[in-house]
């Protein structure tokens, strides 16, 4: 049995070790770095199943004041680890494109940090998944965000990547400002930073509904930016399109997963204040509706697959927000909704990483990310076409895929909460989703290829793609393993109440 924090420490030590190895070695190729990282991360992932539970009593001054090892935290740590591994596999394929846009003295130089920075992001995501204190959550969030700033702008001879980096930096800093200001309001109102204590103090406050709502508003602005919810989505398309493709995948899955878990944690104390609960839910519902409409409708006319996936990422944030908004009415608490969001994000991880893996492989060879570059892919590389077909179907929500079950759970919550308008919107936007996701499929299977040369894929990526395809179907048909991992063993849940 390991202490759960061993996982983060291992990832960080791996990052430090690779940094040192990179600076002292004379090897011309950096490709060994991500391979070592993949190997170690796989072990860390395995270790995550053998961690000791949190102690029952927490001493003051112990790090358990900041850290939770609940089943949902552990699951989000695994999501972070798997995403990072997917990103590293993608980065290996992406090396040729990356090297072209780095000013380097010899080919391949300067790519080392591109493989190492994701490890620090991963550690940040894992810490964020466990944060139970505003200070901890903020430190981890900033670790994630700052490492993303660097990664987005990494291809600095490419103007799109630089523009994306600057945009993300400026808007990110602005949203951080709002978030911190919100946190100071929370601290000013309660004098506490631990989520549980904040919840107790907030519920006991009198005559301060306006102030509590104001604090929540500021926090929502900051977190809305991280999860790409409307009206804080304007950075998403340009940043996603300009960033190196593996980083886009990382942003889309990692940043969203950690952002939503933090959103749940932060919202819980606020929803405990009964006098403002209806207003909070109304705000969340409005955000969910606007995000659903904007993400899905704006994706319709896109011809660039990366940009399409950016809008689709906004759309998926809408479904997740729909689940968050349906928490109050049934008083199921965040237990059930947390499970749904965990499952949705896990499914989103599988299909998004798969989609970006295929996108990386195809765009490296065809030198483009437009949908027309995928024309006739089924004749060039049937396996890649099939993998992208599965990813797109799952993103659209075709039955028997993991994506379908995720959406099904979300809609079940919304129906329970009787949010009929949002359910209607959800159904319409799923329809829109079918159109734009399947347009990619149509291009692959119905149009003639302009070039018939098969697309070369490394055997590692091929194996990962095959694994992801299998997982999408397996967890689409039988989601139970994931759901029970999120809920934890029944005995533990009973003990917690």
């Amino acid at each position: 049995m390991f202490a759960p924090i061993t996982l983060e420490i291992l990832v960080l030590v791996l990052g430090f070790a690779l940094l040192l190895a990179e600076s002292f070695s004379n090897a011309p190729s950096k490709r060994a770095l991500p391979k070592i990282a993949l190997f170690v991360l796989a072990w860390v992932f395995a270790f995550s199943f053998f961690t000791a539970p949190a102690p029952d009593t927490v001493e003051p001054g112990s790090f358990w004041n900041f850290y939770s090892a609940s089943p949902i935290s552990m699951m989000f740590k695994r999501i972070a680890l798997l995403t990072t591994m997917g990103v590293l596999v993608m980065s290996l394929d992406y090396e040729s494109t990356l090297a072209k846009f780095i000013p380097s003295s010899r080919p391949g130089a300067g790519t080392g940090e591109f493989y190492i920075l994701p490890l620090f992001t991963c550690a940040g995501l894992m810490l964020m998944a466990s944060a139970t204190d505003l200070v901890m959550a903020f430190a981890a969030l900033e670790l994630v965000t700052i490492s993303f700033y660097v990664q987005v702008a990494y291809m600095r001879s490419n103007s799109a990547s630089l523009e994306a980096g600057i945009k993300y930096l400026i808007l990110g800093a602005l949203s951080t400002g709002f978030f911190v200001y919100g946190l100071t309001w929370v601290f000013g109102l309660t004098g506490e930073t631990h989520f549980d204590k904040v919840a107790l103090k907030l519920a006991a406050l009198e005559n301060s509904d306006t102030a509590i709502l104001f604090a929540l508003l500021l926090v929502l602005v900051g977190l809305g930016f991280k999860v790409a919810a409307v009206p804080f989505q304007s950075w998403v398309p340009d940043v996603y399109q300009g960033a190196p493709t593996p980083v886009t995948a990382f942003l889309s899955v990692g940043s969203k997963a950690a952002g939503f878990l933090l959103l749940l944690r932060v919202l819980e104390p606020f929803l405990g204040v009964s006098s403002i609960q209806p207003k909070v839910l109304a705000v969340l519902g409005t955000m969910a509706g606007a995000t659903l409409i904007y993400g899905n409708l704006a994706a319709l006319p896109q011809n660039n697959l990366k940009r399409l996936l950016a809008y689709s990422s906004i759309g998926h944030a809408g479904y997740l927000l729909l689940a968050v908004a349906s928490v109050g009415a049934t008083v199921t608490g965040f237990g059930a909704v947390g499970t749904t969001i965990g499952f949705y994000l896990f499914a989103y991880l599988l299909m998004t990483v798969l989609g970006f893996l295929v996108l990386t492989a195809v765009s490296t060879q065809t030198k483009g990310e437009e949908i027309q570059h995928f024309n006739g892919l089924s004749k060039r590389s049937p396996f890649l076409a099939f993998a992208l077909l599965v990813a797109m179907s799952s993103l659209a929500g075709v039955p028997l895929t993991a994506g379908f079950y995720g959406k099904f759970l979300v809609f079940a919550h919304a129906v329970n909460a009787q949010l009929w308008v949002l359910v209607g919107l959800g159904v319409v936007t799923v329809g829109a989703g079918f159109y734009y996701y399947l347009r990619v499929v149509a291009a692959m299977y119905w149009y003639e290829p302009t070039d018939t040369a098969p697309i070369h894929v490394s055997s590692l990526s091929k194996a990962v793609m095959a694994l992801l395809v299998v997982c999408i179907f397996v967890f689409g048909v039988n989601p139970r393993p994931i759901l029970s991992a999120l809920q934890g063993a029944p005995a533990k849940v009973a003990a917690a109440h």
Partner: protein, 167 residues
């Protein structure tokens, strides 16, 4: 803290803040920012938070601003001065910040605890350096370590993004 000093420093700080934005010359902007930081430091000192006041001067007004000025000197100043304001953006920005301030004032007005002064601590003086250090290295150790990693990542980022040619 005497109210006269409070208002004097607050107004000065805000005036310097406005001059940061309005000044066309970046060096003047940066120096106004230093002035704003110094007034903020005096506010902290007035609240008996000596440690934060000193850190404010040492770190922000000292180290950070010197770096700022250094970078500004390396940039082409004339290009910055020639830039014109976009009237729509100006009006929009003013409207948004005005609305935010109005909103903030409304919130403060409807929140009685916000206008109540805190009672005196009742101690002559606090050993604040020791207390801050104690809180940081004991209770807040995990977030502190995380910030350490953050700084490492930021410095890697600076090297990666700013070196002329990577080896």
């Amino acid at each position: 803290m005497s109210p006269v000093l409070f208002w004097a420093f607050t107004l000065l700080m805000l005036a310097f803040g406005v001059s940061v934005i309005l000044n066309r010359n970046p060096v003047a902007s940066a120096l106004s920012l230093v002035g704003s930081f110094l007034c903020l430091a005096s506010l902290f000192v007035g609240l008996d938070a000596f440690f934060i006041g000193v850190i404010q001067v040492l770190v922000y007004a000292g180290a950070v601003m010197v770096l700022f000025l250094f970078i500004i000197m390396l940039l082409d100043l004339k290009a910055e001065q020639r830039r014109r304001f976009n009237p729509i953006a100006l009006v929009g920005g003013a409207a948004v910040s005005g609305a935010f301030v109005a909103f903030l004032l409304h919130v403060l007005k409807s929140f009685p605890a916000g206008s109540r002064a805190f009672p005196n601590l009742g101690v002559e003086r606090l050993d604040d350096v020791r207390l801050v250090g104690f809180a940081l290295f004991n209770h807040f150790n995990l977030p502190f370590q995380t910030v350490g990693v953050l700084v490492l990542v930021a410095s890697i980022g600076v090297v990666v993004l700013s070196r002329r040619e990577l080896k």
